[in-house]
Amino acid sequence: MAANSYWEKVYQGPWKGIVNHLPENMISSQESPFLNNVILKNGEIRSNPRQSLGIKGPVNDNSNIALINSFLDANNVVHTVIITQLGLWQLNPNWPKYPDKAWNLVAPFSVQPGSVTPSAYQTFLNTFYWTNGGPNLFSWDGITSVGSVTTVKRSTFYIQGAEVTASVGGVVYRFVANNFGKTATVAPVFNATLASQTVDGGVTFINNGKPIVQDGFKNVAVVDATNGYTAGAFFLGELGFRLIMLNTVESTGSYPQRVRWTPSGYPSIWDPNVNIGAGFSDEIDVPDGITGFLTIGRVGFIFRVNGITELTQTGNGLNPFDFNHLWASDRGIGNIYSYTIAGYGPIGIFISNDEIYQLSLGGFERIGATSRDLVLNDLARATSTPVATIYPYYQKNYVYTTYMLTIPFGDSSIVWRYSIEDRHWTRSIKPKGIYTGRANFVQIA
């Protein structure tokens, strides 16, 4: 280059996000050695979308909000719900007018305060199920009130899966409605035998054992109906029309290697003695516990610390799943941060010891790439539980499929976003604030 020679350098998109795989004078012009709070969609460096405080939490319940979700009930009515340490709340449609009364308490947890563990949830048969690391799986259908199971009533409609109690010779038993229908005007004699059926007008009830002690929500998962033992879990999913709990916490102890499932289409029955379609499996042939669950297509992926187990459907009602360890080594690719797994349709993302992976029908793909060390470094410094989600769009006219990973760090949050479209990472810092649950696209009107 000649003395005093003119030079120019142009920087333009598509941008490749923040990187640290090379020194900052050796990276490409589309990469950045440092950025904060920008979104790189469509070749622009934009300041991030504005975050406002939005909707106040319940005014009389200033406790941790573990999740937010919307579900559609059997009447085609949408319910937007949150789980706090107090219990389950649903969004009042008049919240813009009454911001201090935005939430109505559906029911409290029977043991206060409830867990702050990010809740696993699943909508199944128009019912919202959730569990948060305690020995209970809870549910709400948006129609019936929650609370203790009540005595079966005459000439009353019950939906499939509804639970009632009935007395047989002075002994109270718990029954599950096998179908939607109306009970008879005159009570039948209920069958006291476990798993037996009783026809009551238009409803067939199945004996589900002894009533369990409860007062807050429905305890859905009675895994031992004879003794009234319940189960909850850290992870929840659905495959083959069966509700699945993983890494269970039961009345008899914790089972980090256990997978439980319901019969096809009966999410209220978990005891194989009540319906042989229910069951469980302990993955004791691998050395580590379950740290997450994803389904892609007809296959489930059970994540462990150092491995992944494929869960495929056999089509056999009595033995519905085949467990295939992709690898069962002491050290291997698994998921090490339980709540950083996120799925969206045919895509799943999880974080292993060595890399961040995207899982799809095409297999595994490394996506940490040139930003991996930065992300893993922030995760290693987390002061509380990191959580992640994938959202397809910010709103319907602003589509940008993104994996959002929030990492609590002291009194701030570090937010990593991976653009699945543009395949790059950006980083933001949110001072004086902690994200306590997964972001979710929910209905607010």
Partner: protein
């Protein structure tokens, strides 16, 4: 667990048996249950979706459901973007005398654009220092026409490995930079 339940008066809060903190129900319309046999407890029409996230605000020490609004890029936090350091000629001092910034008009926005250079020490065995020069801009207009505009920053700074950056303070308006060009002259003089 019986059939028909709470009236549809603004979000039921069914069951719960007098739990602490149950708010008074405001009046208002909510969707009705379609079958008419079992009515829903409260609920929404499902007409408006938003990206929401559970959030604890440590300034007020209260819990919120934070709202991310993609129609407003006036972020409440500062935004920064650093471009790579440029080895125009490795080991040589160069100067930068102009920056060209191309942006999209999303509304009024204030930000700064500048250059950082490494200035070597006169004693070659001692480390040098980093120096910065930047120019403040107030761009855009109240009418966000979404068109591309170009502004220039005249600055003079000399050193090694010039590195351009843009920085916007919190709540300083919506920024959208599409291209930055750094212009200067290179020196042939050998530092050593």
């Amino acid at each position: 667990m019986a059939g028909a339940r709470n009236s549809l008066d603004g979000g039921g809060g069914g069951g719960g048996s007098g739990a602490p903190g149950t708010p008074t129900k405001p009046s208002g319309k909510v969707p009705g249950g379609s079958p008419g046999l079992l009515t829903s407890t409260g609920g929404l029409f499902g007409l408006g979706g938003q990206l929401l996230i559970p959030y604890r605000d440590l300034i007020t020490n209260r819990f919120y459901i934070a709202l991310i609004n993609p129609s407003d890029f006036n972020s409440e936090e500062e935004s920064t973007y650093f471009f790579p350091q440029e080895d125009v000629q490795p080991g040589r001092v160069v100067n930068v005398h102009k920056l060209e910034i191309e942006y999209r008009n999303l509304g009024v926005c204030s930000f700064s654009c500048g250059v950082i250079v490494y200035v070597p020490n006169k004693n070659p065995q001692q480390p040098g220092v980093y120096k910065t020069k930047s120019v403040n801009f107030k761009i855009g207009s109240d009418k966000a026409d979404n068109l591309l505009y170009t502004v220039f920053a005249n600055l003079v700074i000399s050193g090694m490995r010039p590195q351009a950056f843009i920085h916007r303070e919190a709540n300083a308006g919506p920024m959208s930079v599409t291209r930055v060009m750094m212009v200067g002259n290179a020196d042939e003089k050998d530092l050593m």
